[in-house]
């Protein structure tokens, strides 16, 4: 509890819980607006800009509208699970954020308050557990709708989220090897300690994590469960009004949480780069900034403005990833479903396993030749990871594992095409003309 008295701890926790929850809900609302505005910008149109200045009140209008719209309940649905689905989707999406530290600790007259909702000693394990729970809401909602599109969407969602869960977990394990702890506060501190954000020493882990996170949140190019053109929005076809909205809130909350996780695990979290003045970590009963050459802890100097600055850094990094989510949506086309599964099992999983062992071996060799845990250590790992990344992106899958649409898409057609008798339309033959016009 970071040396706070139980009363102060409870009060500050309550304040943080309410603050984080409200900020998350508002952020979700404005991410929907951002998505529509950025989509419009990418597609060279205006986007919603009528409600309030720059359309800033649009999310509020949407929210009111969703509350007031008629709710349809399919007569053949399983009512209890139909109602339970959206609730099961939204709760895990909102509570995952609890273990993400969002700023440097704040000194107050009653003690130093860590800027994290719950600094629990299970950090990453909690995230892994809850991110698997998100699938239940989708599956239950899709199944209970008793609609074929929803059912197919739910099936796809479960298989896909289950497949990418593995790669997600394995890419997290590489982070654990460098930090030596599962709490996210220590993940942030070790990045400050190393002097290098993990995105460099663990670049391939970062790429695997980002791809898996996209698949976990069902965002394009992995939005098979809600593919509009095939499944009519998939698992939430039958949902309307606020229940539909809750599925959407869940999806965007997931996007924000995953962005925050990418920022925390691989981009230093709330760390401000090239400046050690903001470093702070709760170590053996005191807040330390790091260790000096002899290994004795250096006390951290905390200030409210540092908390504010680091909060700004965290929000900036998270928004950057949210923007990437939107950007990718309008850049990459959707996969085919078998390609999604093959990418997950035949590319991501073996790569993650091999990369894990590569990084583990490199770390042990570096410790063996006693390279101190610092910039050199990080740079050597960076080089190793970069080689892995280059292999992964430029060599591993050149149309070998994930197949294209048909053999003709993979190999050029033979030079001499077999001649096919194409019936020629003749203007004089009335029967042919009738066939040609018979379409309507």
């Amino acid at each position: 509890m970071s040396g706070l008295s139980p009363g102060v701890f409870l009060v500050t926790s309550a304040v943080k819980v309410v603050a984080v929850f409200s900020v998350l809900m508002v952020a979700v609302a404005y991410t929907t607006l951002a998505e529509r505005r950025v989509s419009a910008w990418i597609q060279d149109r205006m986007g919603p800009n009528r409600v309030g200045p720059f359309g800033l009140l649009q999310p509020i209008a949407d929210g009111i509208k969703n509350f007031l719209k008629e709710e349809t309940l399919p007569g053949t649905s399983t009512k209890l699970f139909f109602v339970l689905g959206p609730m099961l989707a939204i709760v895990p999406a909102l509570v995952t954020f609890a273990v993400v530290p969002f700023a440097a600790p704040l000194p107050t007259p009653w003690g130093t308050v860590p800027m994290i909702v719950a600094d629990v000693p299970i950090g990453i394990l909690y995230i892994m557990a809850l991110s698997s729970l998100g699938v239940y809401g989708i599956v239950l909602g899709g199944w209970a709708s008793n609609n074929k599109y929803s059912f197919l969407g739910a099936l796809r969602a479960s298989a896909q989220m289950v497949s990418y869960e593995v790669a997600l977990g394995l890419s997290l394990v590489t982070v654990l090897m460098l930090t030596g702890n599962v709490t996210l506060t220590q993940v942030v501190f070790e990045q400050q300690h190393l002097g290098l954000w993990f995105v460099l020493p663990l670049s391939l882990g970062f790429i695997l994590f980002v791809i898996s996170a996209f698949a976990e949140t069902n965002r394009l190019p992995f939005d098979m469960p809600e593919a509009e053109s095939e499944l009519v929005t998939g698992y939430h076809t039958e949902y309307s009004s606020m229940k539909f909205s809750m599925f959407f809130i869940a999806e965007y909350a997931h996007v924000i949480t995953q962005s925050a996780l990418m920022a925390t695990l691989f981009l230093g979290g709330w760390d401000i780069p090239f400046w050690h003045g903001d470093d702070a970590f709760y170590f053996q009963g005191q807040w330390i900034q790091g260790f000096d050459a002899a290994g004795t802890p250096v006390l951290a100097t905390l200030a409210w403005w540092k908390t504010l600055l680091t909060l700004g850094a965290f929000v900036l990094k998270t928004s950057l990833f949210v923007l990437v989510y939107i950007w990718v949506r309008w850049t990459l086309p959707r996969f085919r479903y078998d390609q999604v599964m093959q990418l997950g099992w035949k590319i991501m999983l073996p790569t993650a396993l091999a990369y894990l062992m590569l990084i583990a071996g490199t770390i042990l060799v570096l410790d063996e030749i006693s390279v101190p845990f610092g910039l050199t250590y990080g740079l050597i790992l960076t080089v190793v990871s970069m080689i892995g990344t280059v292999v992964f992106t430029f060599w591993l899958d050149r149309d070998r594992v994930i197949s294209g649409a048909s053999p003709s898409a993979r190999w050029p057609l033979p030079q001499s095409m077999p001649s096919v008798d194409v019936p020629q339309l003749s203007e004089t033959d009335p029967s042919q003309a009738a066939v040609g016009a018979g379409g309507n």
Binding site: Y337, A360, D367
Partner: protein
């Protein structure tokens, strides 16, 4: 340190209350004029053919089984990964062996066509 989990419970409670509140609020506020057409499952405007609750060939049965294997493997890797730098080479080699066994399993499943979706 179990007190550290209290905020988690608070956030969980707040989220559940929020979810129920949204449901109740929209249930109270919105109009309901159900017609037989509205209560039909949506099937692109056609009258639904048959029920969805039929026996369905679950293609990803193998995927689910492999998921359990590999997710457990991930969890099994976590304690070692956390302590790896203190444990040194012995456990590392043991883990290489462990991962190799699973990799062979994956390869076998792959060659047997367990990962195909057709």
């Amino acid at each position: 340190m179990s007190g550290a989990y209290a905020p988690l419970l608070m956030l969980f409670g707040l989220s559940v209350v929020n979810a129920i509140g949204m449901m109740v609020a929209s249930h109270v506020l919105n109009p309901r004029r159900p017609t037989p057409e509205k209560e039909m499952p949506y099937e692109s405007g056609m009258t639904p053919i048959g029920d969805t609750r039929v026996r369905f060939s679950v293609k990803f049965y193998m995927v689910a089984i492999s998921f359990i294997v590999f997710d457990l493997e991930t969890i099994y890797l976590v304690p070692w990964a956390v302590e790896m730098r203190r444990l040194g080479w012995g456990p590392f080699l043991a883990m290489v062996l462990f991962v190799a066994v699973l990799a062979v399993g994956l390869w076998y499943e792959w060659k047997k066509g367990g990962l195909e979706w057709d």
